[in-house]
């Protein structure tokens, strides 16, 4: 069978919110766009987001006084000063537009009801009079780490509603979607990206897509934590692995891995932060609200890294609830009442019923912190352009655009996918309209052949070995056991060693099944090396970072160290090298000087240099790492949004 080569203007790998929104922008600008996705786009993991999407509309009483400025401040504090503040600024300014645009596409946002509303705040019912003139505007719910109520939501199915609305627009624009197609390698010449080689998951055949611009929008890499993740089973992080395999493009902040406080125990299915936002409690085995002692001000609604750590601490102190599947804590939302639970938190109600056999109106929910979000990813500049490679972009959870730094705030991710989709999509369209397609089919055939050969050699291995699934299970155990919430040097370095052994083992792994067609085992075996490589970048980054910042917490270095570590980890994997190399750049131009987050510990090692001195070196340090200059058009746009944040 002759391999197929497809050409297009813009190729988007990933049909989640970020990828689709980006493709829309390109298509609306007249570029031909093709989307590749492992699953039909609506099944992408964006559909699982429940709680909400942050945007400073300030429509309800508890959101009064909110503005993009306040949103910006919350985001930077949430990030523990790891975020690129310019990006966070663009983001906060654009988020309200993205939310309203979704309303325009048909998302049924929950609205303000003018008149008396009963809310549950900090342990008691409160009557609040919503002004009648706000009736019918998009309303907000409370989320962790924010100064105002800001999360816009559609009941407890925000991501689902948003993804369906955006996918409807994709259908309307007539964008080609190749679902059940998996990108397996990038076609590039070391400086410029020309597309991808993909594998059809229906037939098992390979094809190449040549494009002027290629966008990685493949979501997070939670599955390197095995079953200890809230992520879908398809979140392998292949997109980041593709970039890493180029040897040129760096990944940013891979060690910044978020743990969500409330995943259902033991299945790991997420119970949204909206539960706590709407007034839910965390309880220990004595039914005591330990978060009130730990964080008197924000209580259950401190940022996720902080709450997760307090929960783990609580369990380690012997106050966890024993169960056959390990210790857990309780989430209590009984007091919100069945009416509220079967409307505004319906999906939560269903999950509790279907997977734990409990009714949250009468029963406590067993929860424990679980891997949830990947702050790290393909390192890109403000326009979403990958460092070191023209024509390659990344957007959404797969990217390290870097508005999340070391801890993403709940609800900021959905907002990021749409804001970045718009911003980066515009830039992609601009770039593609200026570029010519180098339909260098020689390059494509070489890449295709390389993949075919890789597959053949995989299939032709004989002998006995651990199965790829066993290797995957070991990977998960190492990551959760040694690269989890509380980290320390000894564990991390043993994790690094063990991961290297796994990589070696994986190179020898023999398949049981060599039959034709999609061959699920082969498909997994092709992904596994990428997952292991990503895991190693996470572990090595964490080992090298001898401080605690956001979600990265080193027991042996418990303080945030702004003197030495106000930097972003970059990691590259040179071709044929046995392990990745780390380097660092400054986090970005700062408006808001490093300070206390307002929750968590106030102790830290301060930066000695002044803000000006720090900012001075930022652009140089980034250019040295391969950052491409932002485009003129984006530059002016950025100027419109930057400035005067603090």
């Amino acid at each position: 069978m002759t391999p197929q080569v497809i050409t297009t203007d813009v190729l988007v790998i990933g049909g989640g919110l970020a990828g689709e929104r980006c493709a829309m922008e390109a298509a609306a600008a007249g570029q031909e766009a093709v989307i590749l996705s492992l699953v039909p786009p609506r099944r992408s993991h964006s559909c699982a987001a429940q709680g909400g999407m942050q945007a400073a509309l300030g429509n309800c009483v508890k959101a009064e006084g909110d503005s993009p400025q306040v949103h910006f401040l919350d985001t930077v504090r949430g990030s523990d000063w790891g975020a690129d503040q310019e990006v966070a600024n663009i983001f906060a300014e654009e988020a309200p537009i993205a939310v309203r645009e979704l309303a325009h596409f048909g998302v049924p946002w929950t609205r303000v009801r003018g008149g008396t509303n009963i809310y549950f705040i900090k342990g008691e019912f409160v009557d609040i009079e919503e002004p009648l003139e706000n009736d019918g505007l998009i309303t907000h719910r409370d989320f962790g780490g924010t100064a105002k109520w800001r999360a816009c939501y559609a009941a407890a199915g925000t991501g689902h509603a948003a993804l369906y609305a955006v996918d409807s627009e994709v259908v309307r624009l007539g964008i080609t979607v190749r679902d059940r197609a998996e990108a397996v390698s990038l076609i590039h010449d070391g400086t410029r990206c020309h597309g991808v080689v993909a594998r059809c998951l229906r037939t098992g055949t390979y094809f190449a897509v040549m494009a002027k611009a290629t966008v990685i929008a493949t979501g997070g890499y939670g599955r390197i934590y095995g079953g200890y993740t809230t992520n879908a089973t398809i979140n392998y992080g292949t997109g980041a692995a593709l970039a890493l395999n180029t040897g040129v493009v760096p990944l940013g902040n891979m060690e910044a891995v978020q743990f969500h406080p409330t995943a259902l125990s033991p299945s790991g299915i997420l119970i949204t932060e909206g539960c706590r936002g709407d007034g839910g409690y965390l309880l220990d085995k004595n039914l005591h609200r330990f978060m009130v002692d730990a964080e008197p001000e924000k209580q259950e609604l401190a940022s996720r890294d902080v709450v997760s750590r307090h929960m783990m601490q609580c369990i380690q102190d012997g106050n966890g609830v024993d169960s056959p599947n390990g210790r857990h804590l309780w989430l209590d939302i009984r007091h919100l009442g069945e009416e509220h639970l079967t409307t505004k938190l319906l999906e939560v109600f269903d999950i509790c019923r279907d997977f734990a056999g409990i009714n949250p109106a009468h029963d406590l929910i067993p929860v424990r912190p679980t891997q949830h979000y990947s702050m790290g990813g393909v390192r890109v500049n403000k326009d979403g352009e990958a460092y070191g490679m023209a024509g390659l972009y990344a957007v959404g959870e797969a990217a390290c655009w870097d508005m999340h730094g070391f801890n993403r705030l709940g609800g900021n991710s959905l907002a990021e996918t749409l804001v970045a989709g718009r911003v980066v999509g515009a830039r992609v369209a601009e770039y593609a309209s200026g570029a010519t397609l180098h339909a260098n089919t020689g390059l494509a055939f070489d890449a295709l052949n390389a993949e075919e050969q890789r597959t053949q050699s995989l299939l032709s291995r004989e002998g006995s070995s651990r199965s790829v699934y066993e290797i995957r299970d070991s990977l998960g155990e190492i990551m959760i056991g040694k690269v989890g919430i509380f980290r320390n040097g000894a564990d991390l370095s043993s994790a690094v060693d063990e991961l290297k052994v796994l990589i070696f083992e994986c190179d020898k792994a023999v398949l049981k099944q060599k039959g034709p067609g999609a061959n699920p085992e082969l498909a997994f075996a092709l992904r596994l090396p990428g997952m292991l490589r990503l895991a190693l970048t996470v572990a090595m980054g964490a080992l090298a970072r001898t401080e605690s910042r956001g979600a990265h917490f080193r027991v042996d270095y418990p303080l945030r160290n702004d003197q030495d570590w106000l930097s972003r980890t970059l990691v590259r994997w040179q071709q044929n090298a046995g392990e990745p190399t780390l380097s660092y750049e400054r986090v970005g131009l700062m408006d808001l000087p490093p300070g206390h987050r307002g929750y968590g510990s106030d102790e830290r090692i301060e930066m000695e240099a002044s803000l000006e001195e720090y900012n001075e070196g930022v652009l140089d340090s980034q250019s040295a790492e391969g950052r491409l200059e932002s485009s003129e058009a984006m530059g002016s746009k950025l100027r419109r949004y930057s400035g005067g944040a603090a």
């Binding site: 609306a28 309307r172 624009l173 007539g174 079967t342 019923r353 056999g357």
Partner: protein, 258 residues
């Protein structure tokens, strides 16, 4: 950007959609009329429960005032129209019908217990109605055969007196032929019709009234109640017609002169 309405548009398909709506209305309305008629029918024929006198009095009355003749003609017409339009929905190919039956059986046999639902129209576990529809089709076929025969018979009964000597509908003829063996097809017909009409009405109510009318479970109860009452009445009627039982309500007319 595509903004036009529809691949379903186009002069041709509009009229097609319209036609199909009208067909559906016809089959639904004729079904409704027939089902209502069958309730009337069970009462009219049920007059035999008061004895032969009551039955004959009513029959003569309806014939003398020319109610019976047009009714028979109209019902016959509606019956045929219903059969024609309703059977549009029956898949043409045997393979397809088999597929439907397999599916319906699977759904009905699967006894997976479900957690109680939050909704009014909560699921039937195990699922029933697909199989009921299959039975509606089957009973429809039976009705078509036996019912046509019955209607022709009654047509002869009511129309011959218009052209010459004939008793019209009368108890002696009826009882005679039922006893002679028609009890068998009649009992089959009775069962089929009451089932078909009962389920049909329930289905009509759901199709047009769900969300406005009481829940599916309540409607289903009502349907079952009516089914058993009418079936009971019809069975009594048949027993009396066949002469195996004396009319239980004869005492009602005992004081009335012929």
């Amino acid at each position: 950007m595509k903004t036009t309405t529809g691949s379903l548009k186009g002069a041709d398909s509009i009229s097609k959609a319209r036609r199909q709506v009208i067909y559906e209305l016809i089959s639904g309305c004729t079904g409704l009329v027939l089902a209502l008629f069958m309730w009337g029918h069970v009462i009219l024929v049920g007059s035999i429960l008061t004895g032969e006198r009551g039955f004959d009095w009513l029959a003569t009355l309806l014939e003398d005032y020319y109610v019976a003749q047009p009714t028979v003609a109209a019902i016959f017409a509606i019956f045929i129209v219903h059969a024609v339009f309703a059977s549009r929905k029956i898949p043409a190919q045997l393979r397809e019908r088999r597929q439907m039956i397999e599916l319906a059986k699977g759904l009905k046999q699967s006894g997976r217990e479900k957690v109680p639902s939050r909704r009014d129209n909560s699921p039937f576990v195990p699922h029933l109605e697909s199989m009921l529809w299959i039975w509606q089709v089957r009973t429809g076929m039976v009705i078509l055969v036996i019912g046509s025969f019955h209607l022709i018979l009654l047509g002869i009964d009511v129309f011959t007196p218009l052209f010459g000597p004939g008793p019209g509908i009368d108890s002696a003829t009826s009882m005679g032929r039922v006893a002679a063996g028609l009890w068998l097809p009649y009992s089959i017909l009775l069962l089929c019709v009451e089932f078909h009409a009962g389920v049909g009405l329930y289905r009509l109510a759901i199709k047009w009234g769900s969300g406005v009318l009481p829940s599916r479970h309540i409607l289903h109860r009502i349907e079952q109640l009516i089914f058993w009452v009418v079936l009971g009445l019809g069975t009594l009627t048949l027993l009396v017609l066949a002469g195996w039982m004396s009319p239980p309500l004869e005492f009602l007319l005992s004081g009335v002169s012929p």
